[in-house]
Symmetry: none
Subunit: 211 residues, 4 copies
Amino acid sequence: MQSSTPAPRATGRPRSAAADAAILAATREALVELGWSKLTLSDVATRAGVAKTTLYRRWSGKNELVVDAVAELFDELELPDRGTLGADIEGVVLQFAAILARPEAKSGLMAVVAESTRDEALRERIRASIVDRQKRLVLEGRSRAQARGELPPETDESESSRTVDLIFDVVAGAVVHRCLVSAEPADEEWVRSFTTVLVAGLAAAGNDRVS
Amino acid sequence: MQSSTPAPRATGRPRSAAADAAILAATREALVELGWSKLTLSDVATRAGVAKTTLYRRWSGKNELVVDAVAELFDELELPDRGTLGADIEGVVLQFAAILARPEAKSGLMAVVAESTRDEALRERIRASIVDRQKRLVLEGRSRAQARGELPPETDESESSRTVDLIFDVVAGAVVHRCLVSAEPADEEWVRSFTTVLVAGLAAAGNDRVS
Amino acid sequence: MQSSTPAPRATGRPRSAAADAAILAATREALVELGWSKLTLSDVATRAGVAKTTLYRRWSGKNELVVDAVAELFDELELPDRGTLGADIEGVVLQFAAILARPEAKSGLMAVVAESTRDEALRERIRASIVDRQKRLVLEGRSRAQARGELPPETDESESSRTVDLIFDVVAGAVVHRCLVSAEPADEEWVRSFTTVLVAGLAAAGNDRVS
Amino acid sequence: MQSSTPAPRATGRPRSAAADAAILAATREALVELGWSKLTLSDVATRAGVAKTTLYRRWSGKNELVVDAVAELFDELELPDRGTLGADIEGVVLQFAAILARPEAKSGLMAVVAESTRDEALRERIRASIVDRQKRLVLEGRSRAQARGELPPETDESESSRTVDLIFDVVAGAVVHRCLVSAEPADEEWVRSFTTVLVAGLAAAGNDRVS
DNA sequence: ATATAACCGAGACGGTACGTCAGGTCTTTGA
DNA sequence: TCAAAGACCTGACGTACCGTCTCGGTTATAT
């Protein structure tokens, strides 16, 4: 996850593979109990049964560690085929909201995003590990909708890319804002209202574009 | 701003009014230069030409201070009448994006939101100082649109409130996500695309509701 | 002991006087239990009931702290008047040996001397706090011996100073070597033998000089 | 030097003999550059082109290693026959002072002596490798002086042994104190003064004893 | 005018976490 | 079996910031 083994090193004791998993799990556990700002790397090391130096050998700091720990949470997202675009969106938004309801995601995600405003490398890491990784859901949803005839096929590639980005910003932004800032549950009712607006908007905007 | 002076205190030296402003300004300055995580209260006190104790006498900690410092930034938002609902939204969204482009807002806002996931009182403070305070823009925009006949009038009060919240989550969430997570500029092109989708969605959803 | 209050500081909370004494006592205690190399400043701070920062605010490091802690041990040396030069020397050498027999002196003194071989400032501190401070004993002993007619009066000042230094090197060096390197007790028998040689040597060398 | 290989080991790869010399030389080099307290075994291993494990296989720790590295320095001492007891002593004292002027001796010797105050085994190692090894010089000097008639022959064996120890403590102690504590050069003038006192003291004390 | 009371600056205080470093041990590949 | 490499755990390092406290001193109102 964190580094693609730049030098394969033929000699010396190899790094423990188990340590990585233990550290990430311990990080999530600490996020749940303490939140991001009270999470300390010493504590994570202790929970993982690992020395602090081992932790620093693999991650350069708290932010990078938390990104990796949180990123794993979002990999369980998937887009089940529910028959219509609206239903598909509702399904994935509910999953997304469920993940954001977990304290390790809430506290960790926003904190690293905040940090990333002053750290270009961190922003890239977040984008690579979390954001771009989940855009697959938008792409897949659109393909299905196009196959069903709910949305018109793509004509312009850069236009297509911009639309994916826009949808992602709207969906992810709205859900995050609902869950973290408004601090209201993104329950079925809210998700249905939101999806209604979104699908209608997409359809109208799509028709505008092609017409 | 911070607390409504529970006991008015008739005697003793009154608190310096100038100090409050100096501290908030120093806080924003420090946010620009250092970002949230490297901002220290000692440093803010020094910048403001004030003792640390003076600072702690007025704010209980870093989070509360930053909320107040950031909240002032959003008070300059206004909704100029541009003739149509879409143009009004575009105008306010551009203003919002301009504020979010400033480093003191970026770094500070997300950080306190992250902290608020584990601090109920802080969340309330954010809501009172920032979120609810700006919902006026949504309310005013809707009134104008209804007066122009772009949106149907309200019938159900709780339904109305839910819609305001939804719109706020969508607008604020999308812009924040665009600016901070995607880290792309919310320029006129993006804002136009976003507004198109939003207005179409609202119109369609509104028609659904009244029909 | 450590600093002669360069700036009397009119403002701010004054430093606790009790802390200094507690820290030096704790340092000696730790020297007894752990020895120099296993003594840690964290441990000293804990023993003294003081924060580590308080300790670092007053001493720049382990070496300086130990010098001050050990220096106090030697202040109890005195030169009782026993009637003859030889008896006076025996008396003070026995006292010196008694101090060197204490573990806090043994371990601490040699360690800081070793460190001082690479630290000019530390060497000066040792000289000022310990060595020069105890040369008073040599001076006083010589005065008495001269008053009794056991030694001839001084004629050349720089010669006089060199002689004091030589005697100090011989006395301190021999006792330290006996106690720490040879690790044999500097008991009455050894002290008598040593004093015999020294007094005879001084008398003969003195006679050489004046004759 | 360090241990007499208790089991000669008939099988497996034999230990590199060159490594021992390289390690001791690297240790002295590191003592010169860094001093005892900043010398690290990792660094010594790197300098010697050897793995840390190889080093630990041969020495149990830093102290033992430094004792062996320093001990070799003193083996070059010898007692040239200059015709009189005083001249012989002057010669060897000047050699001793020259060795102590070298940084690897200064820093290393005192440090291990300091450590030895809390480590019986280390004290024995120092005594065996350094102290007792150089007492040969005192013995040889006395023999010559007796042959020349400068000192009376021995009568009592234990008395003889005590005298050798006393002389060694006085000579070694004074020179060490002069060089390391007083930090003044043990130049020819100082050595002459010291020798004058010592020889006169020995002669007078010896006459006392036999008379 | 003179208490009284809360304010102010400065800075020391007891803590906690930081990120680094050295000490020794263990685990790998290779000679 | 030893050697080299390097990851491992432990624990101390010296620094920085936290939030509290103790000073000497300054403004206000309330007598």
